[in-house]
């Protein structure tokens, strides 16, 4: 029974290979294990431990390993296992946020999450300090940190259709988007932060105006029907456009975070700057029927303000009814060519100017803007004949003196006329007139006789100067004689001029 003694068989290669492969795989797996980080979320809605991934630029860079409620019972703390190559991305200002399907503004983002559930977005920070625990952002940052551009601030009274990601247009080219918005603490206005990409941010100058480009702006003007829109998209989702008003000085490029006013539409945006508004009160003693809040205040036909309040007041002691109309005027809409001596641009200067205008007869008057509707507006006009008045600046708001409106003035005139007419003694006048007419009759008969006499005298005169009358013939003969005498007199004087010596010597030259 020949039995081969045990020697190392070649078969041991198999477990060695298995061991090597196993160790290699294990090492690869351990090496492949990236850093573990914690992210604090507001809510874990749509997230699942072991499933929810962390994406950076569409690449999965990690997975949420565990989800648990934070100690304060409000937040959710997630532990995420990151890919090893992300170690250098995890710095202080790296941001994480949850991506859920979001349809807002122009951006339909995270649509994939409709099917896949939420995932965690990531943006790599610029800091160099490594960090392993993060707090997730409440909303995805619209603007990635590595896109060059500039942030600007817009102030608006209402948000309209704006939202995160609402596009910003410059000459209908999308150049940026709304990054964030927040309501002021007092709730009166909104601050919208926008991001304009480079190089378009260079077109935002100090003269630039921003306006809401959402919707269609149809205006019927003398030039015809004008329809202004931005892109079709902006009709649907809104947008902000900016441009410098035509003809305006280009202005310097606006620095980052410059605050601009967001106008409601292009027309409004390109109106001259309204500047600070001044509130005045106008007191009328007449019907203001047709005067609505928002009615324009015009200065020679140019709107410079609007009516903000109309309220009647009854003075019970005098039983007088007055209507107090509060108006807001934008004095900067009036170009001032000669600045006054007072502090330029100051309140004092403004008062001096308005005082001057009032002294020259500027009064507020209600005028009919639309004959069909009877809509009234407040006109500031000059009435040099108006009684002296001035503004009492101690009142708040100060009162601009008023003058009765056209209609009211006309009414007053007619009333005066009618009163005078009524006072006239028509009957007595009639009697007198009859008397006068009778006298006139006699006078006329007299006159007729006088005229006949005059007629006769004229006829006589006619016969005197008739062409064949003796007087004419004689006159003509006499005139001929006279002209002959004149001629010979001229000959004599001529001769004397040439031969003055003949006065002494006689007519001798002729004999020579």
């Amino acid at each position: 029974m020949p039995r081969r003694r045990t020697r190392m068989s070649l078969v041991w290669v198999v477990p060695i290979v298995a061991a090597i492969v196993g160790v290699w795989v294990a090492v690869a797996k351990i090496m492949g294990e990236g850093p573990t980080i914690t992210i604090v979320f507001d809510s874990a809605e749509g997230m699942e431990a072991g499933k929810t991934e962390i994406h950076y630029n569409g690449v999965t860079v990690g997975t949420l390993a565990t989800l648990r409620i934070a100690k304060d019972h409000r937040k959710v703390v997630a532990t995420a296992r990151m890919q090893p190559e992300t170690a250098s991305f995890l710095v202080e200002d790296t941001h994480f946020w949850v991506v859920r399907p979001r349809i807002s503004g122009a951006t339909v983002s995270g649509l994939g999450t409709l099917i896949s559930g939420a995932y965690v977005g990531m943006e790599i920070g610029k800091s160099t300090r490594s960090e392993r625990s993060f707090v997730a952002l409440a909303s995805p940052p619209v603007v990635s940190q590595d896109v060059a551009g500039t942030f600007f601030v817009l102030r608006t009274s209402q948000l309209g259709s704006l939202d995160y990601g609402t596009p910003i247009y410059f000459r209908r080219l999308q150049v940026g988007e709304v990054a964030s918005y927040e309501l002021d603490a007092d709730g009166r206005a909104l601050t919208v932060r926008i991001f304009v990409q480079a190089p378009y941010d260079g077109y935002v100058t100090t003269a630039t105006r921003f306006w809401q480009a959402s919707g269609i702006d149809v205006s019927l003007t003398a030039a015809g029907l004008t329809v202004q829109t931005q892109s079709l998209l902006s009709i649907l989702v809104g947008g902000i456009a900016f441009e410098a008003p035509p003809g305006a000085a280009a202005g310097a490029a606006a620095p980052a975070e410059t605050t601009f006013t967001l106008y409601d539409d292009r027309t409004q945006a390109f109106q001259p700057p309204r500047g600070v508004s001044q509130t005045y009160e106008l007191v009328f003693r007449q019907s203001v029927r047709g005067l609505a809040v928002g009615a324009p205040v015009e200065f020679w036909g140019i709107p410079i303000g609007e009516v903000v309040d109309v309220r009647p007041e009854v003075d019970t002691t005098k039983m007088a009814l007055t209507v107090h109309v509060t108006v807001e005027v934008h004095p900067e809409l009036l170009h001032v060519t000669a600045p006054s001596q007072a502090t330029p641009g100051g309140v004092e200067e403004h008062r001096v100017r308005v005082d001057g205008l009032v002294a020259h007869g500027m009064r507020a008057q209600l005028q009919t803007g639309n004959l069909l509707t009877g809509a009234l507006f407040v006109a500031l006009d000059f009435f040099p004949d108006a009684p002296q008045a001035s503004i009492d600046w101690s009142l708040t708001p100060p009162r601009i003196p008023t003058t009765a409106g056209e209609i009211a003035a006309l009414e007053a005139k007619i009333t005066r006329l009618v009163t005078k007419l009524e006072a006239l003694p028509i009957d007595a006048i009639g009697k007198d007139v009859t008397e006068v007419l009778r006298t006139l009759d006699a006078t006329l008969a007299e006159a007729r006789r006088t005229l006949a006499a005059a007629d006769k005298a004229l006829a006589d005169a006619g016969t005197l100067v008739a062409p064949d009358s003796a007087l004419r013939v004689e006159l003509s003969g006499m005139l001929q004689e006279m002209s002959r005498a004149m001629r010979s007199l001229r000959v004599l004087t001529d001769y004397l001029e040439r031969h003055p010596e003949s006065l002494l010597r006689g007519k001798s030259g002729e004999a020579k």
């Binding site: 068989s9 477990p15 795989v25 499933k51 099917i115």
Partner: protein
Amino acid sequence: MAAGLQRCEGCGLVSRPPAHAPEPRCPRCDTALEFRKPDSLQRTVAYLVAAAICYVPANLLPVLTTRTAAGESSDTILEGVVLLWSPTGWPLSLIVLFASIMIPSAKIVALGYLVLSVRRGWAQSPAQRTRLYRMVGFIGRWSMVDVFVDTFTAALVQLQPLMSVEPAVGLVFFAAVVVLTMLAVESFDPRLIWDAAGANEVRHA
């Protein structure tokens, strides 16, 4: 052995090889004749060690990568068992648990026990151990079911953009465990079980 008879592995012919022949061969089919599989124990042990090594990553690494629109998920065998465990799906879960985890480990343990018993020259209950060996040999190939299922799934579920299933590295290790245990079973010579019990068994018979 005692009788000097050798059974040909190829054709089953029982012959008596000439004594002291350097390489006895089957007179009918010319297959090299051996009383026992050469290096049987060593090879079995080698395969078993390899299988045991592979068993670790086979269970720790994911066997399937499922890519759906919802993202990617890789599941290890145990995770699959947990995933399948539900009020209605528990039998399936148990099948996977048995076929993929219990049986390979049981095979390794059983073969290890057999090798040890032969090595130590245990004489007790050789019949039972032979039965154990047959069972291991029979059951072993069914472990491959898991690999088949997974590879079939991977081949069939390829709805590219929506869903795809791909075998992961764990499956390779799992297949290696199955193949290596089968090789180990194959290289084990059950006759060795009886060698120790040889004398009394023959006497018994």
